[in-house]
Subunit: 305 residues, 2 copies
């Protein structure tokens, strides 16, 4: 049976590139697989795919019962394809915590606490003695640049740096110049509605019995995004009401200066205030040096419920 490889909903660059790259590696190892995606690539990802002249993976909406699948860049069922609970998960390659995940059968699971799934895939090529071609190197490079904000995020590890260095050589790309252009391409969100903005890269999580959502957008100029604050807040309030969200954090991250501004709503905003030792002003807070949801936003929230 052909296995479907896909990343999370609201795909980002790592999720799209990882499905393409692992499909390449598995095919070279003799497996029958197909790269898929659960949504539209964002502008940053499109920039990378266009630059590298690579087609996006095939869009799927759900998986059928007993379909064999491989998950990349996620494991939580709530972030995965509809029907995932009844699919057969044969393999996972990921760099997130494990949560809301279980299988009926043993599987191949490879997670490492590195900045990007593609850094693990890079190692898997080496372990399996499979050569990395120029296009695959470009895809992995794009993903690592995206997830680590050009190696500036605290999620970045020595292994990510090492991978970027070698992959840039194989891809024959000046990664700093290319990376900044790619990240900037992702910050043009002017054609998105407020509803789309808050769901573009949104992770849901439980804080004990409270339901929290943390959405994040990259920006080259925070003031451009803040100019749309009224409609963003309206969309957040609607989502809070419709989905019973207790805390909604919308994070605008300045990719040039490596800071963030957060808009925070919901009846549990005090968790956020405790977590960051701030008092919200007009639902807003400035978070100097904060760029990583995983390392710098989620843990303090979890520790201050």
């Amino acid at each position: 049976m052909e296995k479907l490889i896909f990343g999370h909903k609201s795909p980002d660059t790592d999720t799209i590139c990882s499905s393409l790259v692992l499909a390449n590696l598995r095919t070279k190892l003799g497996d029958s697989v197909k790269a898929c995606r659960l949504g539209e690539p964002n502008k940053e990802t499109k920039y990378a795919l266009d630059y590298l002249n690579v087609q996006a993976p095939q869009l799927i909406c759900e998986v059928e019962k007993d379909q064999e699948v491989i998950l990349v860049d996620h494991n939580e069922f709530s972030q995965s394809a509809d029907g995932i609970k009844n699919a057969k998960i044969k393999m996972v390659v990921d760099h997130h915590r494990i949560n809301d995940f279980e299988t009926a059968e043993p599987l191949y699971y490879r997670a490492e606490p590195v900045g990007c799934t593609c850094t693990i895939l890079y190692k898997m090529y080496k372990e399996n003695n499979v050569e990395i071609d120029k296009t695959m190197a470009g895809l992995m490079l794009s993903a690592i640049i995206s997830d680590t904000l050009l190696l500036k995020s605290p999620t970045k590890t020595v292994e990510d740096e090492k991978a970027v260095e070698e992959l840039a050589k194989i891809a024959q790309i000046d990664y700093k110049e290319y990376g900044l252009e790619m990240l900037k391409a992702g910050t043009d969100l002017s054609d998105l509605s407020a509803e789309e903005l808050i769901s573009l890269d949104c992770k849901e999580c439980s804080l004990n019995d409270k339901k929290a959502k943390i959405a994040q957008v990259n920006s080259a100029d925070i003031s451009v995004m803040l100019a749309r604050k009224a409609e963003i807040e309206e969309a957040m309030k609607k989502d809070i009401e419709q989905n019973g969200v207790d805390l909604f954090v919308f994070v605008i991250t300045d990719i040039i200066e490596s800071n963030s501004q957060a808009i925070v709503l919901g009846k549990e905003t005090s968790i956020f205030e405790r977590a960051f030792g701030v008092a919200l002003e007009n639902d807003e807070a400035y978070l100097p040096g904060v760029v990583s949801r995983k390392k710098q936003i989620l843990p303090p929230l979890q520790n201050n419920v």
Copy 2:
């Protein structure tokens, strides 16, 4: 902080050997770790440790809050150390399905659907270019022989066979002769009480909302174990009552002939009868060719709830 490495409760040979072997590998890679165990080694494991002149890992009962730990040969919290939910799980090396497991932080997770955790550890030595010494080879060999019943279990993979071949060379052990002696040493359970027999290697699992326990003992002669049926059933009934167990399956596996005899009690015995297409006679059923709980007992039960 020194990380504690341990396998599951009611330790078997793979659990004990994996903690010792991974402690050796991590130490050689510069990590600060200590091999631990959550219970008394069984006779089979003791035979292996004595033969190889290796001390058992240190006994621990629980782990403290925020203690950094590494799990081997299990992931389910119900099989792990008391307090595991508040420990920091930094790494897992395992060959079971993932269930009843979650972390707050990203981690290193390595699972493969092979017959034994030590087969994965064997690969990790190679990937990290760390030499395997004679003692470590002996420990890994013992674990693979134990988990695959001398490569006769359907859980055995090509990778387990390959590992056994190379490890036997390094350990300078005639693995067939040694393996049979080791397995036989594990079948002498004459000094165990019925209560100890049913908890020696017992896995708890949920079948939808039903609570099931599947205990397994190895035997060189099933009739020896069946001679104690009355007291075994009494112990099972007591456990069913005290712990609200809906289905208790006690499996006696003939390691020479590769068959099993099951004693089945509880108010949900019909699940077992459906799963194996048998009618219990005096609470008993013969299961020809069945030796693996993971591959041959658990899945049919799960598919027939």
